[in-house]
């Protein structure tokens, strides 16, 4: 990868044209040069809400947990810059009409969040049976980028393909997006499944995730936030930290800790145990997040 050269060449060319390009980049370009955040901010990661899941033994408050999370986020001392849902908004159904009912039900509750911007991403339960068709009707594209205070956010879709592949077309899209960035840029990748082989025995992997990691590795300030495994988990691949978030319907066991992956039953002595959300905080002048985990109570 030769992203720095490409960008310099682009800057040189843009310089002939002058001011328009520079003003178009705004504060993002300035912060991107240093690989640090322009201004303090935090966002909220919510994940794996599985709206439509019904099993009293696993979560007797299956209709109330997401609403509790919405209330808890709204009660934060200050509002987040934005909110990200990292997939599995709804629970699987083979019926396309019911899938839309569930996505619609989820959307109505999420609409109660007090945030300027909410970013949605699909999980395999939402998107793998129809290649993301219903998800797109409700929430738009399954992959996208946006910038905030010098941080370049990339939402990657590794679920619309039922084989859990990112796919060559999306990898080319990713490579093209990264080509425009300085290697110092602070990049935050949002995805549903882990990009690395966390525990393939339980399908906790992305078939071609290594290709995405390879594209990201030349960048020095990359962080990945993902869902899928319904528990807090942290892992480095080279210089890239990966952080999994807790879910909002049922927790899952630690990788390989039991013979068969299955939701952890509800503990009446500790209701909502293992469920929660996360607040990644970016501090001006720094290139890593500090993470705050919030339980559901």
């Amino acid at each position: 990868m030769n992203s720095k050269l490409d960008r310099r060449q682009f800057l040189k060319l843009a310089g002939i044209g002058g001011v328009v390009f520079a003003s178009g980049m705004g504060g993002f370009a300035e912060a991107a040069k240093t690989g640090t955040v322009g201004k303090d901010f935090f966002f909220v990661q919510l994940s794996d809400t599985h709206w439509g899941f019904k099993d009293e033994k696993v979560n007797p408050d299956w209709q109330g947990t997401l609403k509790k999370a919405v209330a808890a986020v709204n009660d934060l001392e200050s509002p987040p810059a934005f909110i990200v849902f990292t997939g599995d908004l709804s629970h699987t159904t083979d019926d396309p009409k019911e899938r839309r009912n569930r996505l619609s039900g989820f959307r109505d509750i999420a609409a109660g969040l007090k945030a300027g911007n909410i970013r949605y991403m699909p999980g395999e339960h939402d998107a793998s049976l129809d290649n993301g068709e219903a998800f797109k009707e409700f929430f738009g594209p399954t992959r996208y980028t946006f910038d905030h205070e010098g941080v370049h956010f990339i939402a990657l879709d590794n679920v619309s393909d039922p084989t859990s592949s990112i796919g060559d077309a999306q990898l080319a899209w990713l490579a093209d997006d990264l080509r425009k960035l300085d290697p110092e840029t602070m990049i935050t990748v949002l995805t549903h499944r882990p990009l690395f082989d966390l525990y393939p025995q339980w399908d906790w992997a992305t078939r071609d995730g290594a290709k995405a990691i390879e594209l990201l590795t030349p960048f020095r300030n990359v962080t990945v936030f993902y869902g899928h495994i319904h528990q807090e988990h942290h892992r480095m691949t080279g210089n890239i930290p990966h952080h999994a978030a807790r879910g909002l319907m049922y927790p899952l066991p630690e990788p390989g800790s039991v013979p068969k992956k299955a939701p952890i039953p509800w503990d009446p002595a500790h209701p909502y145990k293992g469920l929660g959300f996360r607040e990644p905080k970016a501090i001006a002048g720094k290139s890593i997040y500090s993470l705050q985990e919030y339980p559901i109570r």
């Binding site: 083979d94 084989t163 859990s164 393939p200 025995q201 399908d203």
Partner: protein, 123 residues
């Protein structure tokens, strides 16, 4: 110059043979191959318990009765897609004994996560 080219050709051939060996989990053996037929459908494998012997070559023959499924056994380094209407064969010579779970790794519907099984390899 001709001998250098020949050396290069031999090196390339050797690398290709090594690479092929690394990709296909097959070892040459005089033992007859065991054939295990497995049927996949929403949301089960039949049988879902496969018994193999360590060091004995086997062929796992997979067919799907409905839609695309997957067969992934990371512990033995085996995986394939199982498209319907086609027989898919996996050749294996287990080099270790133990119990190795396998699962469908192509998301196939409401019962997908229960579509699992085990390969038991004995000495």
């Amino acid at each position: 110059m001709r001998s250098i080219n020949r050396l290069r050709a031999v090196s390339v051939l050797a690398l290709l043979i090594l690479a092929a060996g690394a990709l296909v989990p097959v070892a040459w053996s005089d033992e007859p191959e065991t054939i295990v037929r497995v049927t996949a459908r929403k949301f089960e494998y039949s049988p879902n318990e496969i018994r193999l012997k360590r060091g004995v070559p086997a062929i796992i023959e997979l067919t799907s009765l409905d839609r695309l499924h997957g067969f992934d056994c990371p512990g033995l380094g085996l995986r394939t897609d199982i498209p319907p209407g086609k027989t898919t064969r996996l050749r294996v010579v287990p080099d270790k004994s133990g119990t190795f779970p396998f699962h469908c790794d192509v998301f196939c519907g409401e019962g997908h996560e229960d579509m699992t099984g085990t390969i038991i390899v004995t000495d």
